[in-house]
Symmetry: C2
Subunit: 159 residues, 2 copies
DNA sequence: TTTTAAAATTAGAGCAATTCTAAACAAGGA
DNA sequence: TCCTTGTTTAGAATTGCTCTAATTTTAAAA
């Protein structure tokens, strides 16, 4: 987040998003740009609510509808990935586009990215063996994250 | 669905579910049994609403809360799998417990099961390379299903 | 049996995420 | 300038899910 390399990277992501909007003949409104800026800089997996609050600081009049519309567009353009969720929980958006696994902690809800090149192989395997016109695949892992493991140990120790 | 082999299989699944409830010291109420029966027989990926309507025919007074409670219990017992969903869409439940990929059609929303033993290998790979306490993984594919592919071809032909 | 206590079910209220709608607003081209 | 089209906005509507309090069922004890 604070070194040159990642700054360059977030800037690239930001420019790519704007470019994509332009090429789709969509206007680069200040609101859309603010949303893209936030998405390109975050390393978390924000919910529409997170995005709304972040952008709200700059644009106090922004509406939730604009957030939902913009992320829908960015998703269709392939600039972000919509992470599915269980139950009534909110959607989250993924800005990391390189092949990776999402590790979901079932205790705290945090999502970790785990890079895995092999995913392309897995894609090929599935694609070649079905008559489905496969566009992309997504791997999710569920379990307990390192932070929660420690917390659980401490709880047990003090019990 | 209609041959001996699959009948036996659905029956096994049904018995396994009842057994699991019993072992967890939960009562085998008629409502729970009806829900298990429906789940063990379906080949689809039903939503709580689907389950509610199916069981409602037999138990006109059944409440949605009972459906939600029962699937939560069955999920905790590992008898069914909760499929995550995007946006406001409803959860779906998976009754097929052997390793497989869920292929989601982005046009019609159908979900297809694609068996893949390799998933256990992938699990091991991820598990061995992270300090996450991995419990299970889930692979989803997105694309256009064969049925929709044909429909799209026809639409194009007639256009 | 009848009694009793715990467990389960029910209907409906409550909640939170998302979508919809109609009006206001902004931008670019004639 | 006006006109058209695309965008944003606020808030209402909708939906899926959870919670709650009252009622009913269950299984086991007396």
């Amino acid at each position: 987040m604070s070194n040159d390399r990642s700054l360059t990277r977030t800037d690239e992501r930001y420019q790519a998003m704007l470019q994509a909007l332009k090429q789709a003949n969509l206007r680069l409104t200040p609101q859309r740009m603010a949303i893209c800026r936030y998405l390109s800089r975050t390393r978390s997996h924000p919910t529409p609510n997170d995005i709304f609050h972040a952008v709200h600081e700059q644009f106090p009049t922004i509406s939730r509808a604009t957030v939902y519309n913009t992320v829908a567009v960015l998703k269709d353009l392939g600039e972000i990935i919509e992470l599915s969720c269980t139950g009534g929980a909110s959607v989250r958006y993924e800005t990391e586009l390189t092949p990776h696994v999402n590790l979901n902690c079932t205790r705290c809800g945090r999502i970790y990215d785990f890079p895995m090149e092999k995913i392309n192989e897995i894609f090929e395997t599935i694609d070649s063996r079905t008559d489905f016109q496969l566009e992309n695949i997504h791997i999710k892992g569920y379990g307990i994250c390192p932070i929660c493991q420690k917390e659980l140990e401490q709880e047990e120790a003090s019990a």
